[in-house]
């Protein structure tokens, strides 16, 4: 009859380390998230290729005023 294998303390410790999320894995995951956020934050938006029925300066000013007004309302 084959004898029952009992894991050594060293094996059990190694297996436990493999299963748990190590601090270095957490750090790597956090760094990846930071990098992902940063790459999205530095994304560039193109200008609209054609002019609309209002001038570009009027459009820009209209957008700026609306954005400022919203942030003022929030306060």
């Amino acid at each position: 009859m084959p004898s029952k294998k009992v894991p050594t303390k060293a094996h059990a410790s190694k297996a436990a380390k493999t299963l748990s999320t190590s601090s270095s894995t957490r750090a790597k995951s956090s760094a990846a998230k930071t990098l992902a956020k940063r790459s999205v934050a530095v994304r560039k938006v193109h200008s609209a290729p054609k002019k609309g029925t209002v001038s570009r300066s009027t459009a820009k000013s209209a957008v700026r005023k609306a954005t400022t007004s919203r942030s003022t309302r929030k306060k």
Partner: protein, 209 residues
């Protein structure tokens, strides 16, 4: 205006009626937020040019294309269907198949209201990337984002929910933007909307290309 970069241009082939406006606006906003340039037959208001020539020119200048084939209903006036969207999809696929080397890199997303409905009216396009937006703006945003992310290989494209949150905020600001620009909301043209969306994204944290 200088020529736009081919690899950043996305041809928008979709219905122009009021019922579809919410989806079209969401698609245009999402394309800008992903860092691309939406192009559409509506951007040209020069009546001197022949419409189909304009469309072909815009298609030739776009690497990417979004084609919505959901409008299959019969026209209320003459009981006939509209064939413009399938025609423009055909031109896009033809350019990819028979065009010069840069045209062969074209990549398109085909949208419909329901998954697999196209098999009943345009089954020959099986094998293309065909997705269903269910008539919902946020679903359309998610589809555009995922497709551009995969097709372009760029790693600076925000998540779909992130774009949807900004789109909601932009929709909230739009009536005031129109008031500031002395426009009624129903007077906003495709070009006006594009300028507003692009400027709003820059004003709210994105950089300018």
């Amino acid at each position: 205006m200088s020529r736009q970069p081919y690899a950043a241009c996305v041809f928008i082939n979709c219905p122009f009626d009021v019922d579809y406006e919410q989806i079209r606006n969401a698609i245009v906003f999402a394309v800008y937020d992903c860092g691309f340039i939406p192009r559409c037959a509506l951007e040209e208001n020069n009546a001197g040019n022949i419409r189909f020539d304009k469309i072909q020119k815009i298609i030739s200048e776009c690497k990417f294309g979004v084609h919505d084939i959901s409008r299959t209903e019969l026209d209320g006036h003459n009981d006939l269907p509209r064939f413009n969207m399938p025609l423009e999809l055909g031109v896009f696929l033809g350019a990819k198949r028979f065009g010069a080397s840069n045209q062969k890199h074209k990549n398109c997303l085909i949208l419909d209201r329901e998954q697999y409905r196209y098999q009943q009216f345009i089954s020959d396009i099986s094998g293309q990337d065909i997705r269903s937006h269910n008539g919902e703006a946020n679903t359309a945003i998610g589809l555009i984002r995922s497709w551009l992310n995969d097709a372009s290989g760029r790693r600076t494209i925000p998540g779909g929910r992130d774009i949807a949150r900004r789109y909601k905020a932009f929709c909230g600001d739009l009536p005031e933007i129109c008031r500031n620009a002395r426009l009624e909301t129903d007077e906003v043209t495709f070009n006006d909307y594009s300028v507003f969306a692009s400027d709003w994204l820059v004003e709210n944290g994105a950089g300018r290309a």
